[in-house]
Symmetry: C2
Subunit: 175 residues, 2 copies
């Protein structure tokens, strides 16, 4: 069975700072035509950073689309053409003030493949050294250190509901 | 530290079928003004459905934003005002042809809280009975049955990269 969808036409209805939104007409394999609304996003990085064996760094941020503050792992958007591994190092330092000597890739995830092309690269960072914070302009966040086992418990129970955080914890700490 | 952001004005730049896109001017706690681009989405449900102790149901779908076919758990959008538990039963049957007698909530996730309000409710479904497929109009997918341990291995290795699938597997099958 052919699942592919062919683009017949594309109209970009919004070209913003962090996203472009397009409405494409597609032909599905049955010959039927349909529309697809899609968000184009630069993608980003997510870092599970261990200060020591049982201490993980986390951030609290007001997430405007949700109108509330939630707990997440440090993360950030890729700049155009930026190498994900370099972006991870940059974001970790910007958000927490730490540099890591030891990096391990945990692959990537698609956050919402039904309507967005956002792809996030996940990392485990260890051997940390504090070098001082340089927060992004216009981004205000609060730093936390958690016992790793407590953080994992909150991911599992649903108290921590940020998808990228759940995914990075799963890939980093479960067999 | 106050992390909250106050809405100064909101302009919805696209009102589509599955999303509304708005550009809001906000005031952050320092008094500084900034813009937030946000996607409003109905949210949805994700189902980890076990046919037997070691067999999980999965679907392959062409995800147009990615321009490729990926493997995911059965999932679908909430209809307006729909109860997530009822939506999960509806989507499982639509996508796989199975009804489940036994449902367990696995909480929810925010797929991309930086720019979207999408919230997905996760479920574990067991005690399945095949009642026949009723695929959604305009949605073509291919059904699979996987040994659960092999599926989990692919989630862990990154071969399965769909975030909602990783999250549901983590909440359903890990302690």
């Amino acid at each position: 069975m052919n699942l592919e969808e062919k683009t017949l036409s594309s109209e970009c209805v919004y070209d913003g700072k962090i996203m472009t939104v397009c409405r494409d007409e597609v032909e599905i394999s049955t010959g039927r035509k349909s529309f697809r609304e899609i968000v184009q996003h630069s993608g980003g990085v997510v870092i599970a950073a261990l200060k020591d064996e049982n201490t993980i760094l986390a951030v609290k941020q007001f997430r405007y689309p949700l109108k509330k503050t939630i707990l997440e792992l440090p993360a950030g958007k890729l700049e155009k053409g930026e190498d994900p591994a370099l972006a991870a190092a940059r974001e970790l330092e910007e958000e927490t003030g730490y540099k890591a000597k030891n990096w391990k890739s945990l692959g990537y995830i698609y956050t919402s493949p039904g309507y967005s092309d956002e792809k996030l690269y996940l990392y485990l960072a260890t051997d940390l050294e504090f070098v001082g914070e340089h927060p992004d302009d216009g981004e205000i966040l609060k730093n936390y250190e958690f016992p790793l086992d407590e953080f994992i418990k909150q991911v599992k129970s649903g108290e921590i509901a940020d998808a990228k955080t759940v995914c990075a914890i799963m890939r980093a700490f479960y067999d």
